[in-house]
């Protein structure tokens, strides 16, 4: 017999097996999910959830697809949070801290309460990546925010109304496009292809009898 625990979905009590995630426990309870369920594996941030274990002072946040149920867990899902996403043209933005001032000025109103970091479902140092963004250190902001799944939990706890995941997103795009070193071999290859350098080789492969390609494939040299 599987061991059962009591959980409270939006306040209502259900008895569910102890080895389920919050998401599969909801399904076990009979919910057919539409909202709050995307990848089912910790990548998309659709399943942000807030819970409290009865008796605990602390309110916790998690991803429902990534978190095992516990006895006396009070659960509310947060399938949507009104984040602010500014619209910008990546080709025209300025690549210094003025861009943050322009697009997400509220980050300068951070009071340093650390609620964002404490609530992050990915365990990221959110307050720190916001601090990097304030300073225009986009490379560090990108690095620190890289694992963000944009679930919005941090923003739901922020007294300054900051949309942290969007700030991280902007920093990563700036870093990827402008700050990361360019790639010579990539540029060369694109030119060679445009120049038609491989046309003959490819054309030959288009015509080759399957048996000959099989031979090529089965005897190809494999880089160590």
């Amino acid at each position: 017999m599987e061991k059962m625990v009591n959980i409270f979905l939006f306040g209502k009590k259900y008895e569910v097996p102890e080895n389920l995630t919050i998401m599969t426990a909801m399904e076990y309870a009979g919910y057919q999910l539409v909202r709050g369920c995307g990848c089912r594996n910790g990548f998309c941030g659709a399943c942000a959830t807030i819970y409290r274990i009865a008796g605990d002072r602390e309110l916790k946040a998690c991803l429902a697809c990534q978190t095992t149920v516990q006895d006396n867990m009070y659960i509310v899902t947060l399938p949507f949070f009104p984040l602010v996403k500014q619209v910008y043209d990546m080709d025209k933005i300025s690549v210094n801290e003025s861009v943050m001032m322009q697009l997400y000025p509220e980050i300068y109103a951070c009071v340093g309460c650390n609620a964002c970091t404490k609530s992050c479902t990915q365990g990221l140092n959110v307050m720190q990546y916001i601090a990097y963004a304030q300073r225009g250190d986009f490379e560090k902001c990108a690095e620190e925010s890289f694992d963000c799944v944009m679930c919005g939990v941090c923003s739901s706890r922020c007294p300054a109304g900051i949309s942290h995941p969007q700030v991280g997103m902007l920093a990563r795009r700036i870093n990827g496009k402008y700050l990361a070193p360019g790639c010579g071999h990539l540029e060369d290859r694109v030119k060679e292809i445009k120049n038609g350098d491989f046309n003959e080789l490819i054309e030959a492969l288009m015509q080759k009898p399957v048996e000959e390609i099989k031979e090529l494939y089965n005897t190809r040299e494999i880089e160590k």
């Binding site: 539409v34 870093n175 990827g176 694109v190 292809i193 490819i202 492969l205």
Partner: protein, 534 residues
């Protein structure tokens, strides 16, 4: 931490580790591979397939679960939808907000077309978001599009449509450049050289990655760009039927709000199906690595409108799905774990194959180890083999796992397993739909005009099996391509009177063939809600 019942086997794995690291396992010969596949690969189990009785692929075999959806009733009756006053009118209608759909939308927009995206869940709730390992492109000096072609053609059992594959490999470097210019962060050396690794079946190290969030990094950047371009996105809205015009050309779709069930009509000059894969169909009862909405909808939509399928009988079972613990059963353990040096080991601590054979061969080999050879480890959910992750740290140095595959480390850490110190248990999981709708090189279906397809819903780019890293590549290359051509075609397309006659005709075919079915399709979502009576 593993419970008592795993300890004896774990000890065997640990004892053999040093020897196993040093050993270079033999690769299989072409003949060995063929025999292995024919005996153990799920695609070869004839009793798991049905013959289609109606539609453009009548007479072909597909998995039972797909046959049921392809030959099911429509969710609407053709005369119950008012087509005279469309809720949306656009040049290009993109169905599906994953990587292929968003790439297509961005390019169609840039080409000057009016575009909109409809998507079943949220934009980015998609298989693209989940890809960990990386994206292939032959951009290193020791590599070339021709070598990439041979790898992919062989990996796909020499069945790819060559003109599609040639486009895939030749446009690959440009696709990487396009993503970089959008701001996607690839792993690079200090001088800008791309960090590239092998994937199963590659002969050159051409796998580009963004840590082990490659797909997420691509997807969130594309999503951000769609929002920047202010392309309208209608989320939680599924396409449930294509609309044709009186001349049989694609001209829109009937949409359904997933929450309110309200029906809506979108009229368009061209339509792009970018609905992705089918893992949630759970073919042959396999668990899956796919997102919640991967239910082969695009194949059903296209099929009912008369579009042909290619290789719909071939699925990819990823060799390494998580087999333990229960909470992550079926979830993907990225191939990169093996690229970085971890080997597959049976319950006796023996390495039983080369870890970087193609996926189908590796999956079949694991199934053999767990079935007739009886060398699997019992997990309670079936049997499994070890993937010896601590080898990675021994080979690449301490910290390699945290640096290169942090998402993997985190996934197991939650359940008390430190993959730097302990191996993990794996078994094949349903991962990728190799087949799909048949297209020409400009992305249009071969037999329904103005209907384009991109991404995992396409069949034929890879043949009958796909190499890791070639799918993220195809959604960008063929997503962009479909967007460009759909926009171009829309410029001159004239749309006649809208019609759902094909839906009515399909119902008649079902009846005429004597198919008895209660099923309706597309499936839209799997039903995991436990029945009250269970």
């Amino acid at each position: 931490m593993y419970s008592e019942k795993y300890q004896a086997s774990l000890a065997a794995v640990e004892a053999a580790r040093a020897k196993n690291i040093a050993m270079e396992p033999q690769r299989m010969t072409a003949q060995q591979k063929e025999e292995l596949l024919a005996t153990y690969h799920p695609d070869y189990k004839t009793n798991e397939f049905s013959v289609l009785q109606i539609g453009p692929n009548k007479g072909d075999k597909v998995p039972h679960e797909l046959a049921e959806m392809l030959q099911a009733h429509s969710r609407i009756s053709a005369d119950s939808v008012d087509l005279s006053a469309p809720d949306y009118e656009t040049d290009v209608l993109v169905i599906g907000g994953g990587g292929a759909g968003t790439s297509a939308a961005i390019e169609a927009h840039r080409a000057g077309a009016k575009v909109m995206i409809v998507t079943k869940l949220r934009m980015g709730d998609a298989n693209t978001m989940m890809a960990e390992g990386g994206i292939q492109a032959a951009d290193k000096p020791n590599d070339s599009p021709a070598i990439h072609f041979v790898d992919a053609f062989g990996g796909g059992h020499f069945a790819a449509k060559r003109e599609l594959l040639a486009k895939l490999v030749c446009d690959a470097p440009e696709a990487i450049q396009w993503l970089s210019e959008l701001g996607v962060e690839f792993d690079k050396e200090a001088d800008g050289t791309m960090v590239t690794t092998h994937g199963g079946g590659t002969s050159r190290k051409r796998m580009h990655a963004a840590k082990d969030y490659s797909g997420a990094e691509i997807m969130r950047t594309l999503r951000d760009e769609v929002l920047n371009l202010q392309i309208p996105v209608v989320d939680f809205t599924a396409a449930i039927e294509l609309i044709l015009d009186e001349n049989g050309q694609a001209a829109g779709a009937v949409l359904m709000n997933m929450e309110t069930k309200e029906l809506l009509v979108a009229k368009a000059k061209t339509v792009i199906i970018a609905t992705g894969g089918a893992g949630r169909m759970h073919y042959q009862g396999f668990p899956t690595s796919n997102h919640y909405g991967a239910t082969a909808d695009g194949l059903v939509l296209g099929y009912r409108a008369g579009a042909k399928l290619l290789y719909a009988e071939t699925l990819q079972y990823h060799p390494t799905g998580a087999a333990h613990p229960e909470q992550i059963f079926g979830a993907l353990v990225t191939e990169k774990v093996r690229s970085l040096g971890a080997k597959l080991v049976n319950k006796n601590g023996e390495v039983f194959m080369h870890p970087l054979e193609t996926r189908d061969v590796t999956a079949a080999s694991i199934i053999r180890e767990c079935s007739t050879r009886e060398n699997g480890i019992e997990t309670g959910n079936g049997t499994a083999v070890w993937l010896d992750t601590p080898m990675i740290e021994a080979i690449g140095g301490e910290g390699t796992i945290e640096k290169r595959i942090p998402a993997m480390m985190r996934m197991f850490e939650k359940y008390g397993i430190d993959i730097r110190k302990e191996p993990i248990l794996v078994y094949p999981t349903l991962h990728y739909q190799n087949g799909g709708l048949d297209i020409t090189v400009d992305g249009m279906t071969t037999n329904v005009k103005n209907l384009f397809v991109a991404g995992e819903a396409v069949g034929g780019i890879h043949g009958k099996n796909r190499l890791m890293g070639n799918s993220l590549l195809d959604i960008i290359v063929f997503g962009r391509n479909a967007g460009i051509h759909a926009a171009q075609t829309a410029k001159t397309a004239t749309v006649g009177k809208l019609s759902l006659d094909h839906v009515a005709a399909f119902e008649k075919e079902i009846a005429a063939a004597g198919i008895q079915t209660e099923a309706v399709s597309p499936k839209l979502l799997p039903n995991y809600a436990r029945k009250a009576d269970k």
